[in-house]
Symmetry: C2
Subunit: 334 residues, 2 copies
């Protein structure tokens, strides 16, 4: 498979994108990459590196889209940006998937407008896979792209999440839950209650409403939510994780020598926990519902997150997740 | 001040309510309580206990409202339940505040219908105070009662939260933030964007949108949100806190003798962190916007949580928070 890499958009600059791409190339011999961005910046990052030149192309681009750009406007105006050129090449079939750390809103608009949606999909959803304390994974659809969702959209997200978990994690019949403010059927906003009814009467393995305290307990394989609540749930977990480490550190600083020795003995445990709850491990959020796989890796990405996202994009393309989603949506609409 | 205690509704039964009330009586000599519930159950819990009988009354009640009851229906049908009798006595001026661990929906409906709202308040909001890692407190309005909120309601919640933080925490000019899926002004659902405009042009110390990762960082004193997102944010934090402890424990179990010794040395630190993030410390959620103070303490309450909630109710009544909120809302509507 061939994966396009938008080399602009990460806080750390072009270098992490290029390094991540080279690491991915070295790890998977069947992979090719197209690095899209300012050629001179990319060339500088490639200097002195060893890699299989047969499997690496560069696509020259102009001024990149930034986080200060208005999402839709940027797609229309910055036609030679790495993001727009990449999405165009993807739409034209020059590659099988794309990875970008750029402006989420622009990437969503660009994916929908340039790569276009699968028949039957109302929107592309940003799907994020989070690790659970059971050592399983839960996919959150939508995790932040579509803030205002009609019940039918939530049902589509559920179908896409179900396809993903079957194909990528090999779960035969994924459990599907709906994020709400209570487990009871009558809890939620009007849209959530309607989505509950749709899912209950649909063909998926729907287990009902899930509270946000169960986002990480592995209660379900697919967690359906609008992008507003999805973003709140994920960011709140992230914030609480950081808060806990801050409080533990404070406690250790105030706890004298005894606590400091305790910390040294538990250093590896803390490191392990940090790694378990890190989003780097799972390889970015995926826009599902479009005609090609587009992965949004976070703005704070390092080379490791890029590598993971690129390998994940390769795998999703190889497993034909797009085709499977099209099939799933077709069945729902019948 | 006199505080009514609904003795039914906690998972642990009548005993924790009665014990909490006695502890509160012992701690604050200016306090009186009215225990509302099945007299025979209450009497059993009082047996052999020492307390100032002058400051304790019992109000006999019949079949209690449970979590299985439909909220509004229960208020209409179970007229001699401890919750309804308590709210009636409160409305009649027989006490200054009330504490209940019962069905949140029923308590919200009952508060609005029986105790009635302050002029200018569209709804009662469930306000929850959470401790932050800066050792300050943030009030979350609404934290789970009103799932579907118009922008004007969110503005009212902001006013109520501002009054609370000024009066109870002595903060001169509390900062107010709006929970959204991004810090930028244009982020959020249509209702959130409209609320943003109202708050920006209002008289409070509004600092803009706040992401859920900042719920616990003390970024603002008052965090405004609808009850759906508020519930998601709080429950996600709760779940992540538990998840972190589970992962740390797992790491220690797998880490051999070294990790186990580390754990023993850090035991007090872990206990301190657990206490810091516990909701028991802050004394329940408060329904603001009603003519009297009503506090919802959680279903899993123990005697300590009841005590904290009763003392908090006493303090809020003493500080005339209701009168201050009425004044605040009057100013906004002018």
């Amino acid at each position: 498979m061939k994966v396009l890499v938008d080399c602009h958009g990460a806080d750390a600059g072009v270098q992490v994108a290029v390094e991540g791409a080279l690491d991915a190339l070295n790890e998977r011999k069947s992979l090719s990459v197209v690095l899209c961005g300012k050629k001179q910046d990319i060339d500088k990052c490639l200097e002195g590196k060893t890699y299989d030149k047969e499997r690496l192309e560069i696509k020259e681009a102009g001024e990149p889209i930034t986080n200060d750009d208005a999402p839709a406007l940027a797609i229309r105006r910055k036609k030679d940006s790495s993001m727009v050129l990449g999405l165009r090449a993807l739409a034209a079939g020059e590659a099988d998937a794309m990875v970008s750390a750029g402006n989420t809103g622009s990437l969503l608009v660009g994916t929908q407008v340039i790569v276009k949606l699968i028949e039957g999909a109302t929107r592309a959803t940003l799907a994020s896979v989070v690790p659970t304390i059971k050592d399983t994974h839960t996919i959150i659809v939508d995790s932040g792209a579509n803030v205002d969702c009609r019940p039918e959209m939530l049902e589509e997200f559920a179908v896409m999440g179900d396809v993903y978990m079957r194909n990528i994690f090999g779960i035969e019949r994924p459990t599907v839950g709906l994020l709400s403010n209570g487990a009871e059927e009558e809890k939620g906003t009007p849209a959530i209650k309607e989505a509950h009814a749709l899912l209950k009467n649909g063909g998926l393995n729907f287990v009902g409403n899930i509270e946000a305290r169960d986002v990480l307990t592995g209660a379900v394989d697919v967690l359906v939510t609008d992008g507003f609540a999805g973003n709140v749930a994920i960011k709140a977990c992230e914030g609480m994780g950081k808060a806990m480490f801050v409080l533990i550190k404070e406690g250790i600083m105030q706890g004298g020598l005894k606590a400091k020795i305790g910390y040294l003995l538990l250093k590896n445990v803390f490191r392990g926990v940090k790694k378990r709850v890190s989003s780097d491990e799972v390889g970015g959020g995926v826009f599902l519902g479009a005609n090609k796989i587009v992965i949004k890796t976070h703005g704070a990405s390092n080379a490791f997150s890029y590598k993971k996202s690129i390998l994940n994009a390769d795998r999703l393309a190889e497993k034909n997740v797009v085709g499977q989603i099209a099939e799933g949506l077709r069945k729902v609409k019948e």
